[in-house]
Symmetry: C2
Amino acid sequence: MTTQADVLALGIQPLARRESTAEAAAQALRSQISAGRLAPGSQLREEHLAAALQVSRNTMREAFRLLAHEGLVEHALHRGVFVRMVGVSEVRAMYATRRLVEPLGVRAILGSPRAGDLVASLGDVVTAAEAAATAGDWHVVGTQDIEFHRAIVQAAGSTHLSAMFSGLLAELRLAFLRLPDPETLHEPFLRRNRGLVTSLGAGDLEKSLGEIDSYLADAETRLLAVVGDGSRP
Amino acid sequence: MTTQADVLALGIQPLARRESTAEAAAQALRSQISAGRLAPGSQLREEHLAAALQVSRNTMREAFRLLAHEGLVEHALHRGVFVRMVGVSEVRAMYATRRLVEPLGVRAILGSPRAGDLVASLGDVVTAAEAAATAGDWHVVGTQDIEFHRAIVQAAGSTHLSAMFSGLLAELRLAFLRLPDPETLHEPFLRRNRGLVTSLGAGDLEKSLGEIDSYLADAETRLLAVVGDGSRP
DNA sequence: CGTAGCGGATTGTTGAGCAATCCAACAAGA
DNA sequence: TCTTGTTGGATTGCTCAACAATCCGCTACG
C-alpha cells in the first residue's frame, strides 16, 4: 500500500500543466520574434495574427499580454502591440542590472560547496559555444552565451532573481537582433567566458569579478555602438 | 512657437495614460486582496466577479492575467484563479532574494554622492512609520516598512531590480495578511529601520550591512513562525 | 504654414454560446 | 471497508459577432 507520505517522500511533483491555447500562440510569436522574422518596432495586428494562427481575437489578446509582460512586445492603449524596440537607454539599463546581479552569482559559485560541479557545467556551456563558433553557427554561440550567464545568476539561488534575469536576457536577445554581424560581437565574448571559467576554477574571486566586469563593460560598449546607430537613438 | 525639442527639454511626459477596463478591474481586486477581504487560497470565480464589477467575463479574465503575472493570484488551467497562498518555501525564497538584493541598495546609497539626501528621505519614511505606530495604525506601519525597503533597492539604480523587488514586496504583503497580530511583527522592525538609518547616516557600511542582515534574519524567523502554522505547511 | 475636422482602420469591450475539463457524489466490485 | 469506475453539474477555455471608442493620415480651410 502506498500512503500519501510515500508519494511525498518520492519527490513526486504536480505534473506540468498543459499549455493553454493562448500560451501556444504566445510561443509561436516568441519564436518568430527571436528568429528575427518579426522586426523590432513592427506592429502586431490582432486580427491578422489571429487569422494566421487560427485563434480568436480574444485569445490573441491574451497571448499579447503574456508577451508584453515578458518585455518582448509593447502594448500601447488603443494603438496596438509592437515588437519591442531596444534603444540606448534600454541597453544601459540592462547592463546596469547585469553589473549588479552577475557578481552575486560569481560570489555564490565560489562560496558554494559544489563549486567544482558548477564550474564544470559552466565549462561545458563554453565548450559547446566554442564548437558552434568553429562551425560558424553564430546564432548558437549567442544562445550559449546567454545560457552561460543565466547559469551564473541561477547559482545565486534566488528564484526571483533568476526569473528577472531570464526576462532581461530575452530583452537582450532583441538587441542582438539588430546586429548586422553577429560574429564581431560574440567572438570576443567566447574568450572572455572561457577566461571566467578558468579563474572560477582557480577559485580566484577578485579575478573572476574583474572578468565579469570587463566582459560587461565590453559588451555594453559594443552593443551601444550598434544600437546607437539605429533608427531610434 | 513651441517645438518638440522644447517640450522634451521641459521634461513633459506623455499624459498619464488612462487605464483600460481590465486594469481598473485588476486594481479593484488588488485593493480587496491587500486589504485582506479576499482571503489567500480562496477562489475567484470569473462569472461572479464579472457581475460584481459589472464587466464582461472576457475583461475579467484579462484582469486575472494581470494579477497572475504580479503573483497576487495563481491561475490553474481549467480550475480557476485563487488568491496566492504564501507558504514556508515562498517566504524562504523571498528572504533569500532580499538578502542578496538589499545589500546592493545599501552599498549604492553609501557610494552615492547624494547619500545625504537618500538617507534623509529614508529617515522621513521611518518617521512616518513611527508616527503611525504611535497612533496604533499598524497597517500603515507595514506599508511604510515596505516602502522603506523599496526605497533602499531603488537606490541601486536598476529598473529591473526595482520592478522585481516591487513584485516581491506585493507577495510579501500577502504573507503579512496571515498575521493575527501585526504589532508583534512590525514593532521591532521599526527600531531596526531607525537603526539602519542611523548607521547609514554615519556612513558605516559594515554596520549598515549588519543591520540589514539581522533585520532580514529576524523578519524571516518571525514570518516563518506564523506561516508555518498555517493550513498549508 | 499650421490646424481643424473627417473617415477609415484598429483596438476595447460586451454578451452569448458551446466544448473541454474538473470535481464531488454516488455506484460497483473486491 | 477500501478502492475503483461512472456520472452529472459547475466552471473554465475559447470562439464568434457586434458595437463603441480611439487613433491616424488625409484633406480642406484660414
